[in-house]
Amino acid sequence: MNFKHKFVFLFPGLFVLIGILIFPIIFTIRLSFSGWNSYTPEMNFIGITNYIRLFTDDPRFWESFFRLSFLSVTTVILQYIIGFSLALMVWRDIKFKRFFRVMFLIPMMTTPVIMTVIWRTFFHESLGPVNDLLGTFGIGPKWLSDPATAKITVIIVEVWQWTPFMFLLLLAGLLSLPKEPFLAAAIDGASAFRKFVFVTFPLMAPISIGAIIIRLIEASKIMDTVFVLTSGGPGTATETSSFYIYIKGLREFQMGYAATLSFTYLVIMIISLTIIAKVLTKLMIKE
């Protein structure tokens, strides 16, 4: 098409793209080369000082990054397993199918921050109903003040909140599968287990990869749950990258350094998610 004024029509979209994506990235990169903090709130140029600090003198960031990797991979695997099981359950013709389908989606419809407040109340070590109940068996785990248990608490809340999303994607996938492979497997005399291994799972592989990647991207941004539930504590036991960046940037006002962290984090995430997607595709879809 040869049309002189086509850029006029492209401009609104381009403008939005520049405004919300390209400008912030370029601004962040520029900011990461500055020493902007509460003493010198200006866009000066200090070269790669921030990057040297990050790679030589900031174990806390790397710890939070590996913690984040652990938390997101664990939660997403759990979400996948539970979500797939639930989807398989309501995929078949069972009684109250519709009721269950709606029930399983409820957590997704709630506001994460509010639900986390409720979970925090649940897990309150002296006043919460969970320990009240467990107390009758003589146990009272330190849900929020023990470094190991606090991670488990974060995982529980995250899994509860986001399994429905996984469930929804996988159920949609199951419902779109062709009937014939299942009929053929039935005729071949395959048991339920064999049907799952040789028919359902291979057919679901592409949608599974999609669902897992989407959830990994989301899970790597985990912030509100940690913020409300533990504030990264006890100590830094549940501190994740985004929460650490938040502390550096918006609590300590080390804007330049926070920008360095953000940009580094972005690059690492893009690279690692690309690798993960490639590996998953290789493992699950055999072409």
Partner: protein, 358 residues
Amino acid sequence: MAKIDLSNISHTYNPNVENPTYALNPFSMTWKNGDRYAILGPSGCGKTTMLNIVSGLVRPSGGKILFDDKDVTDLITESRNIAQVFQFPVIYNTMTVYDNLAFPLKCRDFSKKKIEERVQSVSETLNLSSFLNMPARKLTADQKQLISLGRGLVREDVAAVLMDEPLTVIDPDLKFRLRRSLKEINEQYKTTLVYVTHDQNEAMTFADNIIVMDQGEIVQVGLPKDLFEKPKTTFVGYFIGSPAMNLFSSEVSSNNSIKFNNLEINTRTDLSKIKNKKVKLGIRSEFIKIANEQKDNVVNVKVIRVEDFGNFKLITGKIGDFEIKSKVEREIPISSDNLKLYLPADKCCIYSEDKLIQ
């Protein structure tokens, strides 16, 4: 292998309605052990429903299915010992060709030795021996379809192999080869083969018995020759054969002759008992010959067009308002616009209310 009896089978997809529409009207039929059957009909005529009832994927609303006189109506597919090949090849993508073929036997806990023996034998018949160790997903569409078929054949005790338009995705020249190998397989293993198709050529070349269906009704069962020469209804005449049977609205004029467009045509049909004088004359274009002189059953035709199909010529002509088609040898020169065509009396079929008068 088994004899399959369909006794008073009927099916509707909305059984709870007061006057349900039937996808399959009640019918009875016996499929003999080791024979080849083709179910032929236009889309939506109930072919697949019938097949699914036999395989157990659909439970019939009425009637019974017997395999070797044993009632299997309530048995699920797994327990029926049926093999089914679908329109699109269904293979297990993650397995090799060998594992695909061995799968039904593995599911039934056969010994390793037995499995190997059966897979070897079937893969040789289907020309899959050289692919046994390849991942099944790497094969072409027709080879995949052979795998689907092979999974049915590895089980020696299978009652029947049901095929639902299995050659749709296959190239024409391969179709021919596959049909031949299906026939050979049938002769070698004596397996009852049931083949659903809407392609008459496929049905004619494949089966000994053709079941023609229309709107949930079985309209004719018979040999390809019967369907061609004596179609029981005008639908069969129209559906089978290319071009379709010539059909002319006519009137009975005597005990063995009819009149259309003021032309008297003699037939070999006894018309004395016909109450409704309005009938239809049906004759295949293959049986109409060019005549040189005026005699009985010769009609004058105005030629509209002559099409050369390579191995024959198709003449389309007009007799009054009626259009008539005749297939003639291509060597015969067609000189004038007016032709004399001879309608042999023994090839004229007379239909009253669209049913053949015997």
